[in-house]
Amino acid sequence: MDTLSILLMGFISIVVVNNLVFTKFLGICPYLGVSGRIDMAFGMGMAVTFVVTLSGTMTWMIDNWILMKLGLEVTRYVCFILVIAGAVQLVEMYLRKFFPSLYESFGIFLPLITTNCAILGLCLFIDLWGIHSLLEAVVLSFGAGIGFTMAICIMAGIRENLDLADVPDCLKGAPITLITAGLLAMAFMGFAGMIR
C-alpha cells in the first residue's frame, strides 16, 4: 500500500471504527456536559479538534525526537500533560481575542479541555500503536478530533429531541444519555472489523 492509502485508511479507522468516544470511552465528561445543544457541541468539537491535532503532533515530535533520544521515557506523561495544557492556553487566548462571544458561551468547559481524556488518550494511543511517521501522527490526531466532533454532534441532535420524549423521572439527564450512547455504540460496532 502506498502512503496515501495508508493515511486514508488510518483516518477512516480513527473516525468511525476506533471512534474515541464509542469504543475507547474517552472524553465522556464533556460528552455528557455540553452535548445538550447542537451549536455548543459543534464549537466544543472544533476546539477539541484543534487542540488534539496540535498536541498529538507536538507530543509525537517530543516523544520521538527528544525523549527517546535521551532515554527519558519515564517523564513522558509529565511532558505530555504540559504540552496539552500549553495548547489549551493558546486556544483560550486566541478565542478570547477574536471570538469573545464563543469564548463566553464556553465558560468553564474551555480550561476543562486540558483534562479531557480524549486528548491525552490519543497521545498515548499514538505511542501505543507505534506510529512511526510524523504525517501519520498528524492525520490520526486530526481524525480523532473529527470523530469526537461527530460523536458529540450526533448526541446533541438526539438529546434535543429527547427533551420532548417521555422519560421516566429517575432516568432523566445523565442516565438516559448514557443509555442512548450505548445504543449508538452498538450502531458503531457495525463498523468494527472493516479496517484493522
Partner: protein
Amino acid sequence: MTNSNAKTARYWQTLLAGLWRENPVFRLLLGMCPTLAVTAAVKPALTMGCCVIFVLLCSNIIVSLMRNLLKPHLRILMFTLTIATFVTIADLFLKAFVPRMSEMLGPYVPLIIVNCIIICRAEVCASKNGLAVSIIDALGMGVGFTLTLCVLASIREILSTGALFEIQIIRLSSQGGWFVPWAAMSMPVGAFITLGLILGLVNKVAGRKA
C-alpha cells in the same frame, strides 16, 4: 473534649461523604471514562481502584502541604504536574510487579492523570483544608470510587462470562449448563447501558430518601 468530639465527627462525615452522599461516580458524575473502560471484569477494576486511591492520597497530601504557596492562575498546572508524577510511579510499579494487569489496563493507567475526581478533590478539598481532612477525604473518595467500579464490574463480568474474579460460578450452556453468556456485556454497549441503568436506580433510591 467537645472540640475533639466535633473534630472526630467531622472526619467521619468527610469519610462517609465519599461513599454515598457525594459518591464520585453516582452523585457527582466524575471519572466516567475509567469507570466505563476498565469494568469489563472485577480484577482490572480493583487494580484501577487501588491505583486511584494511591494517586488521590499522595496528590491530596502534596497539594494540601503546598496550598499556601499556590498562585491562583497556576494552580491547575501545579495539580496536574503533581498528579502526573504520582501516576508515573503507579504505572512503573504495575509494570514491574503485575505486568498482566498493566497490559490489560493499557493506557487507562496514565489516563488517571486526567481523571476529574483527582483534580476535583485537589481543587475543592486539599487546596483549602489541612492535612488530616485531605487524607481522610482522599480515602473516602477513593474507596467510594473503587466500590463503584467493583459493583459495575461484577455485574458485567457475571453477565458476560458467568464468572466472578475469573472463577466460574454459573455453568455456561457450552458446558451443559443453562446460562448463555451475554457477549454484549463485555463490549462498550454493555458498559454504557449498565452504568445508565445503575445511575437511574441510584437516582430513584436517593430521590425517595430526600
